[in-house]
């Protein structure tokens, strides 16, 4: 009997092994395997750890991937669908139990160190939905083109972050009166592999760090942070370019001047202080740090390309967000801005969480349509239909999102 069962096991194992090799065949990868085996892509080795294979990979070294807009159709973006923006190589060995954060810099009274567990036990725990958006989201539309990752519309997401308020932590450390800026250091490695170089070390003004919604977070949507989103500990600052929200944070510095870490200076995450003509050269001293992400919205349902019948009323929904207090209204147009109609707008739980909008649209006759969405925030600012001010690095494109619809008789 024993012999028989071990033989069966052997055959089973052999079959499994063959199956694994079969799925890993390069020739299989090159064909439209998804057509024959739906869902097979998940078996591939080249998916991003902890991430859905539905993400659009823009760059694999460093890893950068965005979410197709129709997959952002929810109040909270699932961890596996949240976009990835890496400047360096994520750390490979992470000891969560012994993770230490050092708080130092010219403007702390005394440097202190906390383990992650101490942070979790000592300070009040908060969970807040907050939208993070890459400063370069929408870069691909700029003309003349701007260099860097050519993000389309999906370098944005809204997750429920659990952690502590930075304010509570900084009060415990003790901050001097001359504090100006908070800077972070993460455990990611510079692309060159040089341990003396930081891939990115940015931050926010101290007033921003003290805001009610400024967090040091260890959890995303009730789960550990995905490695690609900063496991085990990251900063979360809504309304700022997401690059301010450092990942894999092991050191926070409180500076008596604007932080001068990697990608704080030069042209990175800066726009011309005064508007410039498209294609202009702008000197470094004329570039100012981005401190506010503009009002923006995305249509998340339906997916662009929907064909419907003339008699049908099309349900449409999406999300709008801003660095201002909140969104005041979202309108849509099916005639390229000749008429704008109000959509229903839902309130958010807190500042910086994105706000849902929804509507139902009847079309007057058959044909090709585009649905354009336009949000207006509490500062009275709304989204342009054309591209906003050109800037050398292609930041802050908040032009209206649009989807294509075909209406046929019936």
């Amino acid at each position: 009997m024993k012999n028989k069962s071990s033989r069966r096991q052997f055959i089973l194992k052999a079959c499994l092994l063959h199956l694994v090799y079969f799925l890993d065949m390069p020739w299989l990868k090159r064909m439209k395997a998804e057509k024959y085996f739906p869902g097979w892509k998940k078996f591939q080795n080249n998916v991003i750890p902890g991430k859905s294979s539905d993400l659009i990979v823009l760059n694999d070294r460093p890893l950068n991937a965005e979410t197709p807009p129709h997959l952002l159709d929810g109040d909270l973006t699932p961890n596996e669908l949240f976009f990835v923006r890496n400047n360096g190589i994520p750390p490979t060995t992470i000891d969560k139990e012994n993770w230490i954060v050092e708080i130092s810099g010219e403007s702390v009274i005394e440097s202190k160190k906390y383990t992650l567990i101490e942070l979790q036990q000592k300070f009040p725990k908060v969970t807040l939905p907050i939208t993070l958006e890459c400063g370069g989201n929408g870069r691909s539309e700029f003309n003349p083109p701007a260099k860097g990752n050519q993000w389309k519309v999906g370098a944005v997401g809204c997750a429920a972050w659990t952690g502590i308020r930075l304010r509570d932590l900084l009060e415990d450390v003790g901050i001097k009166q001359d504090a100006v800026y908070l800077g972070y250091y993460g455990k990611d490695q510079h692309l060159s592999g040089d341990p003396n170089k930081n891939s990115i070390s940015r931050g926010v003004p101290i007033e921003k760090a003290m805001e009610n919604e400024s967090l040091l977070a260890w959890s995303m949507n009730g789960k550990d942070l995905p490695l690609m989103n900063g496991y085990p500990l990251r900063l979360v600052f809504g309304g700022y370019p997401a690059s301010a929200s450092g990942k894999w944070v092991h050191k926070i510095v409180i500076r008596n001047r604007i932080h001068d870490g990697a990608k704080m200076e030069g042209q990175s995450y800066r726009v011309p202080c005064n508007p410039v003509a498209p294609g202009s050269k702008v000197a470094e001293e004329d570039m100012c740090i981005i401190e506010k992400m503009p009002v923006k919205s995305l249509i998340t349902y339906p997916k662009s390309g929907a064909t419907i019948l003339l008699k049908q009323k099309l349900p449409v929904r999406g999300y709008a967000w801003t660095a201002a207090r909140n969104i005041q209204k979202v309108e849509y147009s099916i005639d390229f801005g000749q008429t704008w109609i109000l959509a229903k707008l839902f309130p958010a739980e807190n500042r910086y969480a994105w706000q849902k909008f929804s509507t139902r649209i009847s079309f007057p006759k058959k044909g090709y349509y585009e649905i354009w969405a336009r949000a207006t925030d509490s500062d009275g600012l709304s989204q342009p239909m054309l591209l906003p001010g050109w800037n050398p690095k292609g930041y802050l494109n908040n032009a209206c999102h649009r989807i294509a619809i075909k209406v046929v008789n019936g």
């Binding site: 003309n143 003349p144 349900p315």
Partner: protein
């Protein structure tokens, strides 16, 4: 074991053998189909590549070097060996710039990312990049690319 028993057993074995043979043939056919399918053109409508230019289908298709996605035009080899030593080819393929713009990116990499002087390779690389990855004029807002839209029939939720 009675005679009758042996006959039924033999019959059973025979049907099983037939089944095994049928399944093996089916599996074999599927495998052959998959292999052949993988050499058929990826885009519908493009000319058929036969098994004869197998070498080409592996490396270069329609002027594109498949493993990297780079244009296989003049200067490709140098660009590949110099640039891809440090970063992904996607950093090239997703960007567009003039010769001047590409030169600026090289200078930026030299100043901040530790790229050494490229010597006489620089001209070849810049020429390659400015030729195959030149800017496309798109006005103040590009049109929705209707050729890229995958049209589908929407099943209404309610």
């Amino acid at each position: 074991m009675t005679n009758q028993d042996s006959i039924t057993l033999l019959k059973k074995i025979r049907t099983r053998i037939v089944w095994i043979k049928v399944s093996f043939t089916a599996l074999l056919l599927i495998l052959v189909f998959l292999v052949v399918e993988s050499y058929l053109p990826y885009e519908p409508g493009t000319p058929h590549t036969t098994l004869k230019n197998k070498e080409n289908t592996f490396e270069i298709q329609n002027g594109i070097h498949i493993p990297t996605g780079l244009n296989a035009g003049s200067g490709f080899e140098t660009t590949k060996s110099v640039c891809l030593a440090c970063h992904s080819a996607k950093l090239i393929t997703q960007n567009r710039a003039t010769a001047e713009g590409w030169k600026e990116m090289i200078v930026w990499m030299q100043e901040t990312q530790g790229l050494p002087d490229l010597g006489d390779k620089e001209e070849e690389i810049i020429n390659y990049l400015a030729t195959y990855y030149a800017p496309i004029k798109s006005g103040r807002r590009p049109l929705l690319d209707t050729s890229e839209i995958e049209w589908y029939t929407l099943n209404m939720e309610e």
